[in-house]
């Protein structure tokens, strides 16, 4: 059955490949060149910059701007980017998600905002990326290993959120964004104010969001074997709210530019109340179902603060850039005290933590980086260094990972050689050093321990003082060839990732999945080797792109479900233990767009991924969260209407194949067919254009499961029909 499916996909791709090659050569008709100049606030960035970057970069890079995000607005940044082939998310309810690039996520994908590596609690499946999507102007997605640029963690890829373009000289203005969503009764608003005289500028933003429980097209869900009724299709206690502040300010001159960035993202969101704790729970239905907007227990509260300065200056042939940054991630998880293992039935009065504070993580990160970019004949050379230190404290009555400190440093050199207009060569090397120091932790309660037929009560040790150091040498080599409309690229590179505290030393219960997770102090740094290819064709009315890759990990770090149970802290729950195994993966993304008329175009985006563990206790199995193959068919109509500017109407149909390639404790996921409709336009009003975007996601209120959702394990269907209306009203106070 599985073989049949993979054969099916093989032939699909073969067929598409053939079709493409036939089409490419039969295309000769011409239509007016689409000159897509996008207005980004007050700055004009032409699409050519993006095209040029693509042609000169041997890794597979996708760039999207804020108008893409506006048209495809989801509950969180990553959900808005899901339309890109190879990019998926692990969603946590309606307001949070984390990136899943070609099946890799967690600490294997890094997120960079304004040049600063985003450090949250990304090891947790319940962690959503703390990024305000209204503050995002341009995002670059690197699908592939990029450790040589970003250091440890970028084995799977990188999401690089670029700094906002500077306001143009002598302006003072802003914009107001308003968003409403029907499914979870969400209201969001974001107000932006920016200004600049000749050299000094500021750009500020305040974003607020408030949403209720989201609705799913079912009235009962089966949490493992437990049936849970839902009230009016509401997913109990998944409401949330968000409040974000941003300010960037600084000086921009001819030779020197220095910008300070400050941001604070604060969210409070509930977890599905019936699926948290040691086992599926009964909840007080009367209390929970009284309002769909209240956030009761269990819930999480996350605050992410970032402060950084980026300074760049020109010295002769050299362009220097330095960055100093600080960030703090403070995450708390609240839940009713549930004694498990041999914890006392009644919460002690003199405890160090409040009774409802299940977990608390407090992370401080200081970082510094510097780089120098210069030209030497045909060589464009970049040398640089990054240094980062972090301190992690823990709190709350429950234990999963110990407190730890960490230090990382890296040195890199990158050379881009422009042989001529058509050929580019790339070479990069990097050396990294990392040290992680974990602190010991003892249970706050006693458990009975039997030795030689004698039973004693003891405070069990959950983690020991442990220091681990890692170092790594990584490299990357690539080539670009751009003859005319065609561009070809190839890249071969190695990447690495240092094991994290969770993988080395966790020793506690994961309350979302009712399992006991155990670290492994003997893990090596994860390595990855990947070959990336890219073939792209761009013509006036026709474009396509195919990006296959092959990837090998000699020692992928994997959380292996064992056949044993933990009888102390784990209260009889199944033990999952970190192991390393050889992993082989390959896949491809395919994108094409064809203009039937100047105003009418069709697009197809497809992705395929195969992963297999080649050794270890799960030999032959895939990796968790493997996205099934999917194809998106889209039809866009962009007519010329005199009183409107850039009106559009689009219909998308996404077919997602079944996923039978699973690993315990996953479940096979059936295929799904989902339709989305979007339309919108800009309306001319004075100098500024108001833009209005309307989307209907899951048009037919289809009940389907998403294999990579955080709630997939408990059989929770995806959100039902959702009408999203968003509006952007720019204004100019003076010019």
């Amino acid at each position: 059955m599985k073989n049949a499916l993979s054969m099916y996909w093989k032939y699909c791709f073969l067929l598409i490949g053939l079709l493409v090659s036939i089409e490419v050569f039969s295309q000769n008709q011409s239509s007016e060149k689409k000159s897509e100049i996008k207005e980004l606030e007050e700055v004009l960035i032409s699409n050519n910059t993006v095209q040029k970057r693509k042609k000169e970069e041997s890794l597979n890079v996708e760039t999207v701007n804020n108008s893409f995000i506006q048209r495809n607005l989801g509950g969180s940044l990553m959900q808005s980017l899901q339309k890109l082939p190879g990019v998926k998310t692990i969603s946590i309810g309606s307001g949070g998600s984390k990136p899943l690039i070609r099946g890799l996520s967690f600490n294997q994908v890094i997120v960079v905002e304004n040049g600063l590596k985003h450090e949250g609690q990304q090891w947790g499946a319940d962690h959503g990326l703390e990024i305000d999507q209204y503050a995002v102007n341009r995002v670059e997605i690197i699908k592939g290993p990029s450790s040589f640029i970003y250091g440890s963690d970028a084995v799977g890829g990188a999401i690089n959120i670029k700094p906002l373009p500077l306001p143009s000289q002598s302006t003072f203005g802003g914009s107001v964004d308003l968003t409403g969503k029907s499914n979870n009764a969400q209201f969001g608003s974001s107000i932006n104010l920016f200004g600049r005289n000749k050299n000094w500028f500021f750009d500020s933003r305040v974003t607020t969001m408030d949403y209720g429980d989201y609705r799913v097209p079912t009235d009962v869900v089966h949490v493992y074997s437990y049936a849970v009724p839902l009230y009016k299709n509401h997913l109990r206690n998944t409401a949330g709210k968000e409040l974000d502040f941003h300010l960037s300010t600084g000086y921009s001159g001819e030779k020197l530019k220095s910008a300070f960035y400050f941001s604070n993202v604060h969210t409070k969101s509930g977890f599905f109340a019936n699926a948290h704790g040691l086992e599926p729970r009964n909840v007080d239905l009367e209390l929970h179902d009284k309002s769909s907007r209240d956030i009761l227990m269990p819930y999480q509260q996350v605050n992410h603060l970032k402060v950084s300065n980026t300074t760049s200056f020109q010295l002769g042939n050299h362009a220097f850039e330095t960055q100093i940054g600080f960030q703090n991630n403070f995450r708390r998880e609240y839940s009713h005290y549930v004694n498990h293992g041999y914890m006392p039935a009644i919460y002690p009065e003199d405890m160090y933590a409040p009774q409802d504070l299940e977990r608390q993580y407090d992370k401080d990160v200081w970082s510094f980086s510097a780089k120098d970019e210069f030209r030497l004949n045909r060589h464009q050379i970049t040398v640089g260094t990054n240094i980062a230190g972090q301190e992690n404290a823990i709190g709350g009555w429950s234990f999963l990972i110990p407190a730890f400190t960490q230090f990382n440093a890296g040195l890199f050199a990158y050379d881009k050689i422009e042989l001529n207009e058509k050929w580019f060569l790339h070479g990069a090397i990097r050396y990294d050093y990392g040290k992680i120091k974990m602190k010991s932790y003892y249970d706050w309660f006693q458990s009975p321990v039997s030795e030689n037929n004698q039973t004693q009560m003891e405070y069990l040790q959950r983690s020991q003082d442990l220091t681990k150091t890692f170092d790594s040498f990584t490299w990357s080599a690539g080539i670009n060839y751009n003859p005319g409309n065609l561009s070809l690229k190839a890249n071969l590179g190695s990447s690495f990732r240092m094991p994290i505290a969770k993988e080395l030393a966790s020793n506690g219960v994961n309350y979302h999945y009712f399992r006991f997770e155990k670290g492994n102090p003997n893990l090596d740094a994860e390595r990855s080797y990947q070959l990336d290819l890219g073939i792209e064709w761009n013509q006036q009315n026709w474009s396509f792109q195919l990006t296959p890759f092959v990837n090998y990990f000699p020692n992928f770090i994997y959380l292996n479900p064992t056949s044993t149970h933990d009888i102390y802290y784990g209260a009889g729950n199944q033990v999952f233990e970190y192991e390393q195994s050889e992993v082989f993966r390959y896949g491809a993304e395919f994108q094409t767009r064809y203009y039937f008329l100047k105003s009418l175009s069709a697009e197809i985006g497809a992705e395929y991924l195969y992963s297999e563990q080649k050794s270890g206790s799960k030999k032959g199995y895939t990796l968790p969260f493997s996205p099934p193959p999917s194809v998106l068919f889209g039809l866009n109509y962009e007519p010329q209407i005199s009183f409107l500017k850039d009106p559009y109407f689009s219909v998308d149909y996404r077919f997602t194949a079944q996923q039978n390639n699973i690993v315990p404790p996953e479940k096979k996921t059936a295929e799904s067919h989902v339709f989305n409709v979007a339309f919108g336009s800009k309306v001319k009003t004075g100098n500024q254009d108001i833009s209005i975007n309307i989307q209907i996601q899951n048009l037919f209120n289809t009940r389907y499961l998403n294999h990579t959702s955080f709630y997939r394990l408990i059989e929770l269907p995806e959100a039902g029909r959702n009408i999203i209306v968003s509006m952007k009203i720019p204004f100019l106070i003076s010019r």
């Binding site: 086992e279 009964n282 293992g341 092959v550 056949s563 933990d566 297999e612």
Partner: protein, 156 residues
Amino acid sequence: MKNLKLLLGILTLAFISSCSSDNAEIDTEYPVIDITGANAFPIQCSTIERGKTFTFKATFNDNAELGSYSLDIHHNFDHHTHSTEVNTCETEAVKSPVKPMLFINNYTIPNGMKSYEATAQITIPADVDPGDYHFMIRLTDKEGWQTLKGLSIKIL
């Protein structure tokens, strides 16, 4: 142009050939906890007496090889849990625990078993709180697939 066609061909071929992999059948089936047998104990709504020892009995099955199981008895005085069974049992009013019974233990299953008659002796101390309890059976197979059974029981 010819080069392009060739390249496309090679690319497609490379991709197709990389698709073929040796796929030994992997186990994707969950083990089964069977408490329908005549002498299975406890079952939904069973009652157990304090100060006495009872014998847990159930039949476990798996398509490949069983792993291990754990048993856990904890109080349900706050009605926090419900069972995996269809029929519900009568419960007492909500109350606070004073000395609730707590039992957690894991048991091995001999290697290579596809079917296993599990038995275990469990003693209920005489001084624990009587009332509504929850009896959890967690069964794994060798590959790590797990099946749960949560039963409502009463300690008298």
